[in-house]
Structures are given as C-alpha cells and as structure tokens.
C-alpha cells in the first residue's frame, strides 16, 4: 500500500493537536476510555502535557492523584486506618485512593515498573469504569515493557519520544488556539458526548481499521468509537465525522497496532501454508480479505445518516452493504502518515516477526513483573527478637497482642507487687508514656511474644538465554540439528519452569528473537521461523546476550547462557568483514559474559571439534561441548546433564 507522506510541519501540528485532544478526553470522559498510555521520559514536553491535563481536569473538577510504583497496594482500596484505630480504640475506616477519586484521574509514574499487586486493583477499577489511569511509561525499547494486560486497557496513547514532531519545547500548550477552543467546550462535551451519533458505517470503518492493524482486542474498537464521539462533541458536533474517525485511529488504534496493513495480507498467506490452518490464539486471520484487491475509488463517508442507528443494533448484512469500500484503509493510511519514520520502521519490523516476537514480548512484560516478586512479603512470622534486616510486621504483631489486652491490663496492674516484674514494669512504663502522649489513655500492651516479622519470598527466577549462530557456515543440516538440541533444552526448561530467551546472529548483526518468556508456544515458534545464511558476527550475538543478561540480573534472575556456534567469527560488531578483528571482538565479549552470566555453555556445532569454538568457550569460562553426530535428543540429554552439573 502506498504510504502518504505528510510534510513534517503538518505532522507536528497533527500530533500536537492529538496530544491536546487526549488531555481533554482524559478530563471529559477518562473512565470511559480506560486511560492514557503516555510514553516518554521526563522533560519539558511531558511536563507541559501533564500541566495541560491538570488544567482541563481542574476545569471539570475532576480529582487527580499521582502515585509511584512502590505505593502500597492497600492504599488503593478501602481498609482500616491502623494508627487512628489504635488511638481511638475503635475501628476507623479509611477510604481507598481509587474510591476517593470518584471517577477521577490516577497518575502512575514509571508504570512499567509497577508490580502486579499494584496494577490488579487498578485494572479492576478500570474495567468497572471507576477510574482513569494515566500511565507514564519510561521503558527503554529493549527493557521492561508495560504489561500487556494494562496496555490493552489504556484507550489512548500519546508518544512523546520523538521530539522532532512535537510542539516547540518552550510553548505553553494551554495557550494554543486549539487548546483554548477545547477548553470552552469541555463542560458541554462532558454532558453530551454520549449522545453523539456514530453511524454504523463509522463504527465499521473503525472496527475494520483495528483489524488491519492487527489489533485483536475488541476493547480497542470500543475505545475508538468512544473517542470519535468525544472528538465530535469537543468540536461541537452531534454526529461523528471523518475527522473524528481519523483522530480515533491515531490516538486509540495506532498505539495498539501490531502490524502494518500490508503485512496482514502477507502473513495470512504465509501462515496458512506453514501451519496447515492450525489455529493459534493470536491468529491474525481476521485481517480483512479485501486487502489484496486493488483499492477501488472511495466515496467519502456519508456526512449525515438520519436513521436512528444507535437505538437498535442493525442487522450485520445491512451494515456491511452500506460501507463505503476502503474507508478503513484510507483512515489507516492517513494515520500512518503521521507516524515518525523510526516508529513506522519499528512497526514494520514487528510486523515481519509479529508471530514470534510480539507474542514473546507481551509475555516478557507480564513475566518480568512476576519475576520482580522477589522479596515480596508473603506473610508474617512470629519472632521474639527481630534480626537486623527483617521488617517488623506491624499488623500481625498487633493482631497477636490484641486478644490479650484486657487480660494483660489486669495482670500488669496486679503484677506491680511481684518483685520479679519490677524491671519489666519500668520498661512498660516507658512504653506507656510513649504511647500516652496526647491520647485518650488507651495503651496497647505488647509482649516480645507478639512480635512478627515479614516473611519474604526470595525466589530467584532462572532464565536460559540461547544464542544461536545462524550464519552460512552453519550448514542447513547443522542448523536444524542445533534447533533440535534447543528444543530438548526447552522441554527441560519447561519442566523446571525456567524462562527462555533467544538471540540469533547472522548476516550483519544479531537480533532478539524472543524476549524472556515462559511460553513454550512462543519459543517453539521463534525457533521454527529462524532462517539461516550470511556472515558470522559472533561478537554482536554475544554482546546482545550480555546486554540481556545484565537486564535479567537487574530483575534478580540468575542466568544460563547457551551459545551454539562453530566459533568462526568473520564479522565485527559493526558488521565489517575481517576474521582477525572479528575473532578478537568475539573473545572480548566472551570474557565479558564470563563475569556476567551465572552459567555458560558453548555447543560446538562444527563437523569436528573446532579450535575457534574451544577458544571461545575458554574465554567465556564455560563448558565446551562438541555437537556429536548423534540424534539431537541424545545430545540434548547430555547437555542437560552437563548443565545441571555446572
């Protein structure tokens, strides 16, 4: 499909206005749109955007609250206010943060780092349309991602990462003519946006656009329809028009896009032949069939349709016949034209590997979150003398003490006569004075026996990173044997519930085929899809592995790196030819891995043991294993044995 290319100035204007509209939408109908996915690091533009959101929210008296990812999840929901309860001697309830917002806006900084325990209550609230979440995502391209289960629920996406196509850094967004115009209509839109009419044709165009962009969730289509209505309401219209659809595609659908429209048709062909029509869960077969047909001349969207389409859903057949052909396609193409080049390239890249990588990627976010559960409190442990480093579990301690309060008060009163208790009495008096200060005189009588500490879960996840040489020197035969070996190892990882990741290097460089995941389906698929041929940039592959290992270590995982190569490097990290330099760099990176990865294993894939591979194994101080001519299965077993010993 021919891409329209908009001049940069137009793109800037469109993206800026979109951001402004998004800010207004959050204020006007935040909960109906789930939330806003704000990508970009701290900077003047992000501040300007957040200020604008505040202005709009303030104008509509929408409450906002900002929280950090380390916020205690209990704060979000209603509960018992402990300190007040103790002071007053009766239960004092505390309203939860979400409830307090009354359908307002929750701003979550560094959302990609938020643990699932914090996200879960938010997600429930979003589903019930009780809160709007503005999630600020500062993730790096290759690091932790915003968990898919959250991303899917955030209706709008604003991307501030490409500053070339945004407003000037020093401008006050609120002072722009567009923002001012919206400000005037906020209240009106808030009350009437739901009554805006979206014709079945309009709805159909959005649904189809979502399908073309490979979006599987029907939430996105719903959000898109709502945003189109809002956009119309903010423009003072009572009907959704083409402009509103366009902005809905840009703000709602593009951020969730998983493929370019052209890729949809391709994939469909490739997949059906490859998989004999097996139906995988994220099968993008729902891409419209008419993709391959040449685009017919498109009549513009009918500006007005008088039918009361919204009252009763029309028959499917009717709706489809009324659709102007290619409306969705045109919408998508126009929206794509406003994407900055590198984002477009990213999308194109993810289209080509959509089946292997996107799946792994979503899993990575989710799994990573789980991995970060390390050290999380999973209960209380009685401990008379808390050791250093242990956290006192206040709630559990008080619970333990509470039932005995009446008894203890009586006993400690009588106890004063016993000489044995004199020392303790002094101590008690101190505590009493401490607790007495300025309160009603009720004291909590604690004993060392009551003390509890947090029981923490210190499970370290295990991730195996496969680095596969797919260069030309790996004859096809050997490559498929190597694949076989990996499959055996995968099975083993499954049993131990390890995570696996996969990196391949060939041609000019290395790429991550699969982010760390526990999904075997994804791993198998990425392996099957791995093509061979080209140069042998060993260093690039090892460097990428080192980078991933570093990331995993930050998350507290232990790592096993399994390199499958013949060791004959002939390309440097920069993709330049030269055996000597390439070998040197490979050695360097191997030594780097030696200190970063916890366990290392090199499987020599050449016909007979290859000195270069042996040298590489030595440099990474890992185990060396020549791949025998035996069946992959047998070899896999040997590897497992070696791995467990290592």
């Amino acid at each position: 499909m021919a891409q329209l290319v908009e001049p940069q100035e137009t793109v800037k204007a469109v993206r800026t206005e979109d951001a402004i509209l998004a800010a207004a939408a959050v204020a006007v109908a935040g909960p109906a749109l789930g939330g806003l996915w704000l990508r970009g690091w701290h900077g003047p533009r992000r501040d300007a955007f957040l200020r604008l959101v505040d202005r709009y929210a303030g104008a509509l008296l929408v409450r906002t609250h900002r929280i950090a990812p380390h916020t205690d999840p209990e704060q979000l929901l209603a509960g018992i206010e402990l300190s007040e309860t103790l002071r007053a001697g009766r239960i004092v309830q505390r309203a939860g943060l979400i409830e307090n917002l009354q359908g307002g806006l929750l701003v979550l900084a560094m959302a990609e780092r938020a643990p699932i325990a914090l996200l879960a209550p938010m997600i429930q609230a979003i589903d019930a349309q009780r809160v709007c979440l503005l999630a600020i995502d500062e993730s790096l391209p290759d690091a932790l991602r915003l968990p898919a289960l959250l991303q899917d629920r955030l209706g709008m996406g604003v991307d501030l990462r490409d500053e070339m196509v945004l407003w000037p850094v020093d401008s006050d967004l609120y002072q722009t003519a567009f923002a001012q115009a919206l400000a005037l209509r906020l209240t009106d839109a808030a009350h009437h946006w739901k009554e805006v009419i979206a014709s079945p044709e309009a709805v159909k165009a959005l649904v189809e656009a979502a399908a073309q962009l490979g979006i599987l969730s029907s939430r996105a289509s719903l959000y898109a329809v709502r945003l189109a209505k809002l956009s119309a309401a903010l423009a003072g219209r009572s009907m959704v028009e083409a402009d509103d659809l366009a902005v809905a595609v840009r703000l709602v659908l593009l951020p969730q896009a998983r493929q370019l429209p052209a890729a949809a048709a391709h994939e469909e062909d490739g997949m059906q032949s490859a998989e004999e029509g097996t139906s995988e869960p994220d099968d993008p077969q729902d891409a419209p069939r008419n993709e391959e047909e040449p685009t017919r001349p498109k009549p513009p969207l009918p500006p007005e349709t008088e039918q009361d389409s919204e009252a009763s859903p029309p028959e499917p057949a009717e709706a489809s016949s009324a659709l102007p052909d290619g409306a969705a396609e045109r919408l998508v193409a126009a929206a794509l034209a406003t994407l900055p080049k590198h984002l477009l390239a990213q999308l194109a890249a993810s289209s080509s590997t959509a089946r292997s990588k996107a799946a792994g990627a979503t899993g990575a976010g989710a799994q990573a979150m789980k991995g970060r559960g390390r050290g999380r409190s999973i209960g209380a442990l009685p401990r008379r003398r808390p050791r250093s480093g242990e956290r006192l579990h206040l709630l559990a301690s008080i619970r333990a003490a509470a039932p005995f309060q009446a008894l203890r008060r009586r006993v400690s009163g009588e106890d004063t006569f016993s000489p044995n208790s004199l020392v303790r009495l002094d101590a008690d008096d101190q505590t009493r004075r401490l607790l007495h200060s300025g309160t009603s005189g009720k004291v909590l009588e604690m004993r060392p026996d009551d003390l509890h500490v947090h029981r923490e879960k210190k499970r370290r996840g295990n991730t195996t990173v496969f680095v596969v040489d797919a260069s030309g020197s790996m004859a096809l035969q050997r490559l498929s044997e190597a694949k076989g070996a990996i499959e055996i190892l995968l099975a083993d990882c499954y049993v131990r519930r390890d995570r696996v990741a996969m990196i391949a290097f060939r041609g000019k460089g290395a790429e991550v085929l699969l982010d760390p995941t526990r999904s075997l389906v994804a791993a198998k698929r990425s392996l099957t899809a791995l093509p061979g041929g080209g140069g042998s940039p060993v260093a690039a592959g090892l460097a990428l592995a080192a980078q991933m290992v570093a990331q995993l270590k930050r998350m507290g995982d232990s790592t096993v790196v399994v390199v499958l190569t013949d060791g004959r490097a002939n390309l440097t990290r920069d993709g330049l030819p030269g055996r000597q330099q390439a070998a040197l760099e490979a050695q360097q990176m191997a030594r780097f891995l030696a200190v970063s990865a916890d366990k290392r294993l090199l499987i020599d894939t050449s016909m007979r043991p290859e000195p270069a591979a042996q040298a590489l194994a030595a440099a990474m101080r890992g185990m060396y294993m020549p791949m025998p001519f035996a069946q992959a299965r047998e070899m896999g077993q040997a590897v497992i044995a070696a791995q467990l010993k290592a």
Partner: protein, 356 residues
C-alpha cells in the same frame, strides 16, 4: 452546570449473557458448568478483549437464586446434606428435624466472585477479624473470597500470571471442597465448593499442569474473525452503555428464556442417558489421545450429559459428543513440549475419526 456527570453511578449493571456475540464455545462451556457443577471448573483460553470477563460476570444474572440458611456466611443449603459449615452442620446433624426447621432460609443470588491477581493470602483464605479483635478483643474469623464463592463461581482473570503460592492454595481447596485455616491461632474449616473459572492467554505463560488438571473444561475464545461480528460486538456494547435499561429490556426475554433452560436442564440432568456404544467411543477417543487417567472420560461424559440436558434431550447424541469433546479433552493431552501442533487440532482430528 460545572463539573462533569459522575461516572461512578452509571456502570452498575452487567452486560446480559444472552447478548454476547460469537463466543458459542465459551457460552456452552459456562452453561454446562452451571447445569452440572461436578464437571469441574472452566478454563477460558484466548486473546485479550474477547469478552471473557464480561461473559463470566454476566453469568450470575441468568442463574436461578440459591436457597440458603439465613445468616450463614457460607450460604449453606437447608437440609442435612454433606459439606455444611460448622454451625449449620452441627445443628442439622445433632437435632431432630423439627429443630432444624426453625432455621429460616432465604433466596440469595449465586455468587460470582472475582479473585484479583494481587490478592493476598489473607483475603483469599480469610483471616482474623480485625474489627472484632480491636473493639471486642474477640478472636473471630473473617471469611475470605473462598467463603464468598461457596456454591457459586470463583473467577480468576489472567490465571496464568497468578503467583505460585496462591496457585498451590487454590489447587488444594478446589480438590477438597473445603478451606482449612490454621494460622494466627485460628482453626477454622468451612465449605468452599465453587466452580473455578480461569481465563488467560497461553501466549503469556503456561499454566501449571496440576492446576490445568483441576479444570473440567477448557474453552477457546477468539476475536471474531468475521468483520460483521466484530462490529456487532462494538455496536451492542455501545447500545448497552448508552441506555443500559433499554438494552436490558430488549434482552429480558432472552435472559429469562435462558434461565428457564438452565432450570429445566438441571432437573433433566439425572435422567439423561448415554448409550453403550457411545461410551465405548468415548473410551476409544481418550485412549487414542493418550489422556492421563480417567478424568478425560469422566468429564467428557458429564459435559455431554449436561449439554444434552441443556438441549432438552434425554439421550446424549453423537452430535453433542462432537460439540463438547474438544473442550473436555484439549487440556488433558500429555504435554509434549516439542510438539507444537495445536491441541485443539489434534483433538479435532481424532474426533472426526472416532466419533462417526
């Protein structure tokens, strides 16, 4: 008028079950579980945003109310049956029926309880009642989510992302039908019989085999492939949100029809028969698929009977078997991690061969 309309009050109604679009397998699976809870739980596998949660939450509205002893936190049924809670059990067993009759019964809606991913053990199992503890210095048990779900449904979205220690706890309770709490000086046992409904996307992580085994049925949901269906999803949802009351009125007949269907299916269930030759075919199918143990046969049999009852048939037919075989068996195939043929495809292939 300043400010915007309050959102909090708008969405309190659940989308009607009968208005779901294009998720027949999921709907059938859930209905089977309502007709015969002994089928075991229902696992819903599939993409995000396909209406999994909507379907489960909509379920409560089509279920006939439960008869329960008034004031019992676990909604114990009247009568002297097994699996009553401590209080109801002793009064039922030790006394004459005349005494028992004093206990009033009430009708309560079937609970459909959400177990959020971030839930703590305390919240799931139940814990010391802080309020009673602090105000009356009384050690009392505050029932948790498991208690709330007794005789109803326990729904876990994204079940494959659930923390392992919570999974362990669920496996145990789901197997025994009762929740035993021995902590913080509490010693409580209460019935916790519920239909476990889990949903998740297998692409994002595998489910533990032990937990998989707890599910009687595994249904698949897809984003509808058909554009018109996808559009219907959006249009109906929009119509619902614009005027929920009107929308509910439009579907009131369909809803009560469905409720009647469930009620009569429950009555019919014990009378549904399964012919010998079909039984043999089931055994043959399971053997050829290599399902572990006998659970495959059992759940296929139960599911088929419930499905027949839903259709008002007194006999399981081949058609019905073919309908329910995939959902009863697809998660029971011995896991060969190297064989990435979709389990559904494998089951379907054999179903086509055997069930003719």
């Amino acid at each position: 008028m300043r400010g915007r309309p309050n959102f909090g009050t708008i969405q309190r109604m659940n989308y009607p079950f009968s208005a779901l679009v294009g998720q027949q397998e999921m709907q059938l699976g859930l209905l089977i579980a309502t007709v015969d809870p002994l089928v075991g739980g229902v696992l819903i596998l599939g993409d995000r945003g396909t209406g999994k949660s909507t379907a489960v939450r909509a379920l409560a509205a089509v279920l006939p109310d439960l008869e329960a002893i008034e004031g019992c936190p676990y909604r114990c049924p009247p009568g002297n049956t097994a699996g009553l809670c401590g209080a109801c059990g002793t009064s039922a067993a030790g006394q004459k029926s005349s005494v028992r009759a004093k206990k009033k019964t009430v009708l309560t809606p079937v609970p459909v309880v959400d177990l959020p991913l971030g839930a703590t053990e305390d919240r799931i199992l139940g814990a010391l009642d802080l309020e009673k503890l602090m105000t009356q210095a009384q050690k009392a048990f505050e029932p948790g989510l498991l208690a709330k779900a007794n005789r109803g449904f326990l729904y876990i979205d994204e079940i494959n992302l659930l923390e392992d220690h919570l999974v362990d706890l669920l496996i145990d309770v789901a197997a025994s039908g009762e929740n035993r709490i021995e902590r913080e000086g509490l010693s409580v046992v209460h019935p916790a019989r519920f239909v476990l409904v889990g949903s998740g996307n297998p692409e994002e992580g595998e489910l533990r085999p032990q937990l998989l085994d707890r599910f009687g049925l595994a249904v698949e949901v897809r984003t509808p492939k058909d554009l018109d269906q996808r559009m219907q999803v959006v249009l109906r949802r929009e119509a619902f949100e614009r005027s929920p009351h009107d929308f509910m009125r439009d579907y009131a007949d369909a809803q009560s029809e469905l409720r009647a269907q469930i009620v009569s299916a429950r009555k019919l269930l014990s009378k549904v028969g399964l012919a010998q030759d079909l039984l043999r075919k089931i055994a043959d199918l399971c053997m050829r698929l290599g399902t572990d143990g006998l659970r495959g046969e059992l759940s296929l049999m139960r599911a088929a009977k419930a499905a027949a009852a839903l259709r008002g048939a007194k006999k399981v037919s081949l058609d019905i078997l073919r309908d329910v075989a995939p959902m009863a068996l697809r998660h029971r195939l011995r896991r060969d991690p190297l064989d990435d043929t979709d389990a559904t495809v494998r089951v379907q292939r054999l179903v086509d061969e055997v069930l003719v």
